[in-house]
């Protein structure tokens, strides 16, 4: 297998493969339709993609801060295909591939309808996500983001058994549409200014744009547009309006996992916004941080009030994403490392929580906390997986959240002093509060009187999914060094733009 990969690597561009493999898989699935072979392919292709992602991780030179495996191709006018990967890219690529490799198994366990079409959709989304991750072209990123969101919206509105699923889909498209327009406008402004300043052709290439400072006035407008656009998709408080409806009435675990499990908005900030607009980001950092600090608590308070596990997790996401933003906008090397790793950790932990919630729903047909309870005795390992994910979110030592969070705290102390940072850390304690309480109500509380039948114990496939999630979380938690070493050089390079080095 490794030999084969080796030979493939020699002959094929790995980043293009990352994008093409799931795309081809999706097309084959659509072609095969309802044939049983389709399901097999639907399971195998994401696993192969994970293998490919791990291969890229293996051959990546972690000490080299610049982009590797660079692929370049001129297409139509200003739109160019320019792909490259550094440690941050690979971290997100592996995270994406890992998350999506688990989903087909979840789909099978849940016995969702129309599985072939769903798996094809998953693969198509994976291809687009990979494309967004490896591209070095802002326009390409924006366009891929648009198509990806359209497909994700389709997923939100179908494969949901809520009577209000249309509302969920509508809200999603309204918000994401606005976000995309902002993103596109921001990208155009930057490229236009650049063309005016240099007299060259239109270009959206990251390395070209980042090489040329932009006047602070126009830069501020562009920053606002890009930040707003990415903020909606992440979602960052106060741009999270679509999330509660989508979480409650949309597709249960799969769409949220794709949207929240890989924090593409955070990746966009680190990959494009910060390198292109370092001065503006420095100017606006205090405001961004102020909003984020408010967001930590606002969302945590809302999470406390929820009676629905899905809504509770949604607000938990908003709360902890604010922590990531505080981390990144501390704007030095440690802050970037902490923020990026925290984003990856939160993403994976939320994936675990969503999938476990889905498996609970399979048994109880509800995620209303008042009607859950009494599940620990029947599905202890699924409950523990949920808890480990919760602990990763509150940055318990031994989970990947801890090292990431303490990097963020270190950077925060450096930049904003102890007070903001203490607030952020207390936000974590509040998160521990609502997550533990939710855990208690969902799993440990006495079962509701309305439930008469015994809850089904976990099937081997469910145990395998839960086990994989826990093993990855604990392994990464106790063995953080490779991840730190991988993201360190490129982020140190980024920090140089902010005078840290």
């Amino acid at each position: 297998m490794i030999d084969l990969l080796e030979r493939l690597h020699a002959s094929l561009p790995p980043l293009a493969m990352l994008q093409l493999l799931p795309l081809i898989g999706a097309l084959i699935l659509l072609r095969l339709g309802e044939r049983p072979l389709a399901l097999v392919i639907g399971h195998v292709v994401p696993l192969a993609e994970l293998g490919l992602a791990l291969h890229v991780y293996r051959v990546l030179d972690v000490h080299n801060p610049s982009f590797q495996f660079v692929e370049h191709l001129h297409l139509l006018g200003p739109l160019a295909y320019h792909a490259g990967a550094d440690g941050v890219t690979v971290l997100f690529v592996v995270l994406t591939a890992l998350t999506i490799a688990l989903l087909p198994f979840y789909v099978r366990v849940r016995g969702l309808e129309d599985q072939t079409r769903l798996l094809a959709l998953l693969l198509a989304i994976e291809a687009l996500m990979m494309s967004m991750l490896v591209t070095l072209d802002l326009l390409w990123f924006t366009l891929a983001s648009g198509i990806e969101l359209a497909l994700a919206g389709y997923l939100v509105g179908n494969w949901s058994n809520s009577p209000q699923k249309d509302l969920a889909m509508l809200r999603f498209f309204q918000f994401q549409g606005v976000g995309l327009v902002m993103l596109l406008a921001g990208a155009l402004i930057i490229a236009w200014t650049h063309r005016d300043a240099t007299g060259h052709d239109w270009t959206f290439d990251l390395q070209v744009l980042a090489g040329q400072p932009i006047s602070p006035h126009i830069g501020a407008v562009a920053f606002f547009l890009l930040f707003y656009g990415l903020g909606i998709r992440t979602p960052i408080f106060p741009f999270h309006g679509w999330l509660p409806t989508v979480a409650q009435h949309g597709n249960m675990a799969i769409a949220p996992t794709l949207l929240l499990g890989v924090k593409m908005g955070v990746y966009g900030l680190v990959r494009f916004v910060l390198p292109i607009l370092p001065q503006v980001a420095t100017t606006w950092a205090p405001y961004v941080t102020g909003f984020a600090a408010a967001g930590v608590f606002y969302a945590a308070l809302l999470a406390f009030q929820q009676n629905n596990l899905r809504l509770l997790i949604a607000f938990a996401v908003v709360s902890h994403t604010s922590l990531v933003v505080i981390g990144i906008f501390s704007l030095d090397a440690i802050a970037f490392q902490g923020g990026v790793l925290l984003a990856a950790n939160f993403g994976f932990a939320v994936t675990a929580m969503m999938l476990m919630t889905g498996l609970v729903h399979r048994r109880t047909r509800t995620t209303n906390l008042a009607r859950l309870g009494g599940l620990f005795d029947r599905i202890p390992l699924l409950a523990l997986t949920f808890l480990v994910a919760g602990l990763a979110i509150v940055a318990m030592p031994g989970t990947p959240g801890f090292d990431a969070a303490h990097l963020v705290l270190e950077a925060g102390i450096h930049r904003f002093g102890a007070l903001t940072t203490v607030a952020a850390a207390l936000g974590n304690v509040v998160a521990a509060g609502f997550l533990l309480w939710a855990f208690q109500r969902a799993f440990l509380a006495p079962p509701p009187a309305t439930r008469t039948a015994l809850v089904e114990t976990a099937t081997p496939m469910e145990l395998a999914i839960a086990g994989a999630l826990v093993v990855v979380m604990l392994f990464a938690g106790f063995h953080m060094e490779p991840l730190l070493a991988m993201v360190d050089p490129p982020l140190r390079l980024l920090a140089l733009r902010f005078g840290d080095g």
Binding site: E410, I413, L436
Partner: protein
């Protein structure tokens, strides 16, 4: 012998045992496996004490390995005279708890004993970690088993609430602790001039050797004090202890009351890492100690339940430990460590005895007891022995500890010393009064009349605990010898920092 990484092995056997619990054939009862691991833990910790060289003041049996080199976080363990005795104390108490839970755990026994073993591993880790982040890891890891033990096997109606409250308070207490450690790490980076993150320091011996400005020291000391006070617990952040004493499984309360991790943290980290600040804030430590001492004693007077009485008595006794620390001299620190070890035997033993009582009567409220000594003379006498040791009666291990602390305190904080003497009188009052009402008088409740006295297994546990209490009461030198040189170095460092 000394070359074997004994500490790592000790740390490893508990989680390995927990894992084995799930791999072993179903026919093997979990409690037997837990007992074997617990016994192994006692044996290994005694081996460690045996291999320990009491004449050397510094850390021994050190092991170190890279963990997260980018951030200079290491796996570093070691023991000195102040910590080494806590290892057998922990192992012994766990063995007692495993035996005490022998028949009482009907639901999910496998999970129960797994969690107990994980907890034992984490607490052992707290006592040997020499890297602040590693320490923090073990510190926080203790919370998860406790959370489950309390919420799943708790005996009170509000066990879920108690478990969540405890965990959240401890999480909140972890925040200042982590901040304190981060400030220390930053100071190390500034001192070495290596910058961040290359110069970040988390290694305890290195941090002890790093000078720090008095202002930063005050910040670090206050943060660490806050974090450790919550866990100890120190008045006024003690509210979780009486609650847990009522709601948690009694055997688990024995662990929480018997192992005062917070006080150990003060001795190990807070005071030596910020000696000047500790010196200038000695009044704060002493004041916290006296308040806890008196408040705990008065509150214990008002209790009608043996478990809450023991909880408040523990709060009172830990005030004495704070006074011993606040004296910053040899007798004070020796007394404090001795008192902490004494706790493991006395508070741990008393709660175990209470758990036996509760199993028979279904309650430990005196309303349901009266005359218990008639049907259970053995249990009543053992309980009395624990009570007397708690009061510091000569001949018990409580006596040398309290004497040392009192001598030290009367020299440095005479007022506090007098208050401590008063509180000791109170301790006789609350214990003897409640004891009389619970165990003497006419037996009215049928449950009390029909109750059986101690079974052989229970008798064995209590015999070992009381035997050790009497043994170390009569020959405290055996313990003091181990503690002395490290305690001397500890006190010398503080004397050096005195203004």
């Amino acid at each position: 012998m000394a070359e074997l990484p004994l500490l790592s092995w000790l740390l490893l056997i508990y989680p390995l045992g927990a894992l084995l619990m799930w791999l072993a054939p179903r026919a093997l009862p979990p409690r037997a496996l837990a007992l074997a691991i617990g016994g192994l833990g006692v044996g290994m910790s005694l081996l460690i004490v045996g291999g320990f060289d009491a004449a050397v003041p510094g850390f021994q049996m050190r092991e170190s390995a890279d963990w997260i080199p980018t951030l200079n976080i290491r796996y570093a363990v070691g023991v000195d005279g102040l910590s080494v005795l806590f290892l057998p104390a922990t192992a012994l108490l766990f063995l007692g708890v495993i035996l005490a839970s022998w028949n009482g755990t009907r639901t999910l026994p496998r999970l129960y004993f797994t969690l107990l073993l994980l907890l034992a591993g984490a607490i052992t880790g707290v006592f040997c970690a020499l890297d602040t982040i590693l320490f923090f890891l073990f510190w926080e890891l203790t919370l998860i088993p406790i959370y489950f033990l309390v919420s799943l096997w708790g005996v009170g109606p509000h066990r879920s609430y108690a478990a969540t409250k405890y965990t959240l308070i401890m999480f909140a207490g972890g925040v200042p602790l982590l901040f304190g450690f981060l400030i220390l790490a930053f100071n190390h980076a500034a001192y070495t001039g290596a910058g961040v993150p290359a110069g970040l320091g988390f290694d305890l011996p290195a941090l002890l050797a790093t000078p720090m400005s008095t202002r930063l020291q005050v910040a670090v000391f206050v943060l660490l004090l806050l974090g450790f006070a919550v866990k100890t617990p120190v008045f006024p952040v003690h509210t979780w202890l009486p609650l847990l004493a009522m709601e948690a499984p009694v055997a688990v309360v024995a662990l929480l009351a018997g192992l005062k991790l917070g006080a150990y943290g003060l001795i190990r980290f807070a005071v030596p890492l910020a000696p000047e600040a500790a010196h200038s804030l000695h009044w704060l430590l002493a004041a916290l100690g006296v308040t806890g001492l008196v408040f705990g004693a008065v509150a214990a007077l008002a209790q009608t339940n043996l478990r809450t009485m023991l909880a408040y008595a523990g709060l009172s006794h830990v005030g004495l430990v704070l006074l011993g620390i606040a004296a910053f001299n040899l007798q004070g620190i020796q007394g404090a460590v001795l008192q902490l070890l004494n706790f493991t035997l006395v508070a741990g033993g008393a709660f175990l005895a209470t758990s036996f009582l509760r199993r028979r009567l279904g309650s430990t409220d005196i309303a349901n007891m009266g005359g218990a000594a008639r049907s259970m003379p053995l249990l009543a006498s053992f309980f009395l022995a624990f009570g007397l040791a708690g009061m510091g009666v000569p001949g018990t291990s409580g006596f040398p500890a309290e004497l040392l602390i009192l001598v030290a305190t009367l020299q440095t904080h005479p007022g506090a010393g007098l208050a401590a003497l008063f509180a000791m009188v109170l301790s006789a009052a609350y214990f003897l009064d409640l004891y009389r009402r619970a165990f003497f008088g006419p037996a009215t409740s049928p449950a009390v009349i029909e109750a059986l006295d101690l079974r052989p297994r229970e008798l064995l546990i209590l015999l070992v605990f009381v035997g050790l209490i009497l043994g170390f009461g009569l020959f405290p030198a055996a313990l003091l010898e181990v503690i002395e040189s490290s305690a001397g170095a500890w006190a010398a460092k503080l004397a050096h920092a005195a203004p």
